[in-house]
């Protein structure tokens, strides 16, 4: 019985598929009219045949045949074959489309009377062809195993050019691999260019080579779900879009770009940003939303950004690996240096999930940068930079400048950093500060090894209230231009050539675990700028350096212990009251007792391994009482106090000097 049912079903489907279709062939274009829809097909003057509103010049008709093809309304297929292309148009669209074919170069213009979405299915291959379509109604473009290279442009230099300002779905069909390459000349803005907004879907693969400008360019928003997009080469950006960029899932890989990996800008610059809108309706924000999938970007160009947003960048899930290898460069237009950066926002960055791995190896390179606020509440951020300071005054370039920058215009150099937040803008003789850094959760790991490379810098205030922050840096591990608030979380910092944690204003430590290791000499584990104060009211704090900033008393002050000793990586430093251990710290494995320090900014001398200044604060300390501080195997009795003075390590290292110093 089952067998009969299957046979029956197959027979029914076969019969149902045997619909009659009138095929009208005009050159390379075939119009398919279902017999059930044609009605009267009228001849006029012996020269014209009109079928379903489409008037054919009889002299143009190559042939008409009738077969049992099933026609799906609102569909167009283009099959490329070497130097030709066969276009098939469903009958109900015939009167609304104008198709022209020149070899394998196809142009299809949609009339403004089109009122239903058309699906264009492209397949086959050609080493010199293109697909150009224009219109004013939304459309879908399916890629069904298409390999298309535009060598000699006819309608556009792009491989696919959609001159349509509406929503265009681009679907690399499941199981297919599609490759697009544009011409090396022309006026195209992208190998795949869409004037309107593009939604990439389906789980096929799309490979793109942009020989003239961008790999993929959309005039309006770009969104992706499930698809795999590989931009293997682009003269400019890998992907460039307006309004906003949304990655919900799928895989994007960008390499070989001549400029940024992904860039998103506000489209209507006169009106300005709409900000994020509900469901992104009518949004024009320049924002980048990373909500899932896997994104890999490798940028080698000078001063290139892996991911660049004119608006905000928001990361909620997904895996993002961004590597920049280019050095900085001199920007003639702005008369200043520019440097490479993994993720860059002209506004704010918010990370509440996902895994970001950012690597910058070029001179002046940064892992992450934003002009506004950086907020990290969850997720994992790993940053590694290895380039030195980039110097360029428009005529002289130095890709590893080691001189003193105190009297050098900031326009002439770009400092490498792991994470840079905010702006410090000079205004006459004063400064304005903008942007803040807030870490309340997640895991942040920053490593910098190049000259002058700070770990984490805020050009305004800095808050750490939770999460795990680990920094191993060349220059300051964590620095803020304005006040710094360490209120929670676990913070571990080692700086081999400057302060561990440094605030250019007051610093308030009220909670969490803070281990800060600075270099020798005048460099501190914890330091604040002259004229400002360090307040400790809670938390567990260990600061190791050639020096440490003094601690000031305030309401609720937690006592501190200040001592010195021979400190080495991996050691245990503990505080005991009698037989009770009040606190125990492990010196970071990245700490180097031979780290060099400085006196004012130049390369300094080497630290004597004999002694470092050690500052400890933890709960349970009473002012005036003595506690046993054990550094490694050496113990001493230290008296607690609510204050301490700026202190140098006993028998401290040789003092270094700046250029021309002693």
């Amino acid at each position: 019985m089952k067998k009969i049912a299957f046979l029956f079903f197959g027979l029914v489907m076969t019969i149902a598929a045997m619909a009659q279709t009138l095929n009208v062939q005009v050159g390379s274009v075939t119009y398919q009219f279902p017999a059930s829809q044609t009605g009267d097909m009228t001849y006029a003057d012996g020269t014209t045949l009109t079928i379903m509103g489409k008037a054919f010049a009889i002299s143009d008709i190559t042939a008409m045949t009738i077969d049992n093809t099933t026609v799906t309304d609102n569909t167009v297929s283009v099959e490329y074959s070497s130097s030709s292309a066969a276009v098939t148009i469903s009958g109900n669209l015939a009167q609304y489309l104008t198709a022209t074919v020149s070899g394998a170069h196809v142009s299809i213009a949609q009339s403004d009377d089109v009122a239903e979405e058309i699906t264009y299915t492209l397949s086959g291959s050609s080493s010199d062809g293109e697909f150009y379509t224009s219109g004013s109604y939304k459309a879908t473009i399916e890629l069904n195993g298409l390999t298309l290279t535009n060598a000699t442009p006819v309608y556009s230099g792009a491989a696919i050019h959609v001159q349509n300002g509406k929503r265009i779905k681009v679907k690399p069909l499941d199981g297919t691999t599609n490759t697009l390459t544009d011409a090396a000349s022309g006026s195209q803005k992208g190998c795949l260019y869409i004037k309107g907004h593009a939604e990439f879907a389906k789980s096929g693969t799309l490979n793109v080579v942009g020989n003239l400008k961008h790999g993929i360019k959309t005039g309006e928003y770009f969104s992706i779900k499930n698809a795999t997009i590989n931009v293997t080469s682009a003269a400019s950006d890998g992907i460039n879009c307006g309004q906003y960029f949304l990655m919900e899932s799928g895989t994007i890989s960008i390499s070989g770009s001549g400029d940024d990996g992904i860039q998103c800008d506000i489209d209507d610059t006169e009106t300005g940003s709409t900000g994020e809108t509900t469901d992104h309706e009518d949004e024009d924000s320049g924002n980048i939303y990373l909500e899932g999938g896997t994104l890999t970007v490798n940028c080698a160009a000078t001063a290139a950004k892996g991911i660049k947003a004119e608006g905000d960048i928001k990361v909620t899930d997904g895996t993002y690996n961004v590597t920049t290898t280019g050095n900085g460069e001199w920007d003639d237009d702005d008369s200043e240096t520019k440097a490479a950066c993994g993720i860059s926002s002209d506004s704010n960055i918010t990370i509440s999930g996902g895994t970001l791995t950012l690597t910058a190896t070029g001179s002046g390179g940064k892992g992450m940068k934003c002009d506004g606020e950086l907020t990290i509440s969850a997720g994992t951020v790993t940053v590694k930079t290895s380039g030195g300071l980039y110097y360029n005054d428009g005529s002289t370039e130095n890709t590893n400048y080691t001189g003193n920058t105190d009297n050098v215009s900031s326009d002439y150099y770009s400092s490498p950093k792991g994470i840079k937040v905010g702006l410090k803008t000079e205004s006459g003789s004063s400064y304005t500060y903008s942007g803040n850094l807030l870490i309340s959760g997640g895991t942040v790991n920053v490593t910098t090894s190049g000259t002058n490379a700070e770990g984490i810098e805020s050009k305004n205030t800095l808050y750490i209230t939770g999460g795990t922050v680990t920094v191993d840096s060349y220059d300051d591990g964590i620095n803020s231009a304005q006040a710094m608030y360490l209120q929670g979380g676990t913070i571990t910092v080692t700086a081999s050539n400057n302060d561990g944690i440094d605030s250019n204003a007051n610093m308030y430590i009220s909670g969490g675990t803070v281990i800060a290791c600075g270099a020798s000499g005048a460099e501190c584990g914890i330091d604040v700028a002259e004229g400002y104060s360090l307040y400790i009211t809670g938390g567990s704090v260990l600061a190791i350096g050639g020096s440490n900033n003094g601690v000031s008393s305030t309401s609720g002050s937690q006592c501190v212990l200040s001592t010195s000793g021979s400190v080495s990586a991996g050691q245990t430093i503990s505080v005991a009251s009698g037989s009770s251990t009040l606190a125990s710290f492990t010196v970071p494995s990245t700490y180097s007792a031979s780290g060099s320090g400085s006196m004012g900014g130049g390369p300094g001398g080497t630290r004597s391994s004999s002694s470092s200044n050690v500052l400890i604060s933890c709960s349970g300390l009473t002012s005036g009482s003595s506690y046993t501080v054990t550094i490694g195997s050496s113990s001493s009795s230290v008296t607690a106090s609510t204050t301490s003075s700026d202190s140098m390590g006993g028998g401290g290292g040789q003092q270094g000097g700046g250029p021309g110093g002693m």
């Binding site: 027979l11 029914v12 019969i15 009659q20």
Partner: protein
């Protein structure tokens, strides 16, 4: 089982009837004459002002300038054309089986009685 088989057959026959809804392509000329060709393997070409329709039933040629329209049809017109030719040779009136007099243009599928100069004939239009 028998009942299911009968149902299957009925559905298949019905679908087949629907699938071949239009067994013919009809061509109408300016004088009102309608000629049909089978759509089976039908191919149409245009050359020197002529339309040539070739199908499994053979080939028919039309002068394009005489054509007014074409349409898919469920009925063929071969018998009607024959009758027209015969009428030219002396056919009288034509009646359907109810006794109603009909014009050749009205004739659909069915059986008709034709009075000719040579007697009365029964004709079936398929």
């Amino acid at each position: 089982m028998k009942k299911s088989l009968l149902t299957f057959v009925a559905i298949v026959v019905s679908l087949m009837a629907q699938a071949y809804d239009y067994p013919y392509l009809a061509f109408q000329t300016s004088d009102g004459t309608v000629s049909t060709v089978s759509v089976e393997s039908l191919s149409i070409t245009f050359s020197d002002g002529q339309l040539v329709a070739t199908s499994s039933d053979g080939s028919q040629t039309f002068t394009i300038s005489d054509l007014t329209k074409m349409y898919f049809s469920t009925e063929g017109t071969t018998a009607i054309k024959n009758i027209e030719t015969e009428k030219a040779d002396g056919i009288g009136d034509i009646y359907d089986l109810t006794g109603r007099k009909v014009d050749t243009k009205e004739m659909k599928r069915g059986i008709y009685i034709i009075k000719t100069s040579n007697g009365t004939r029964k004709v079936t239009i398929k």
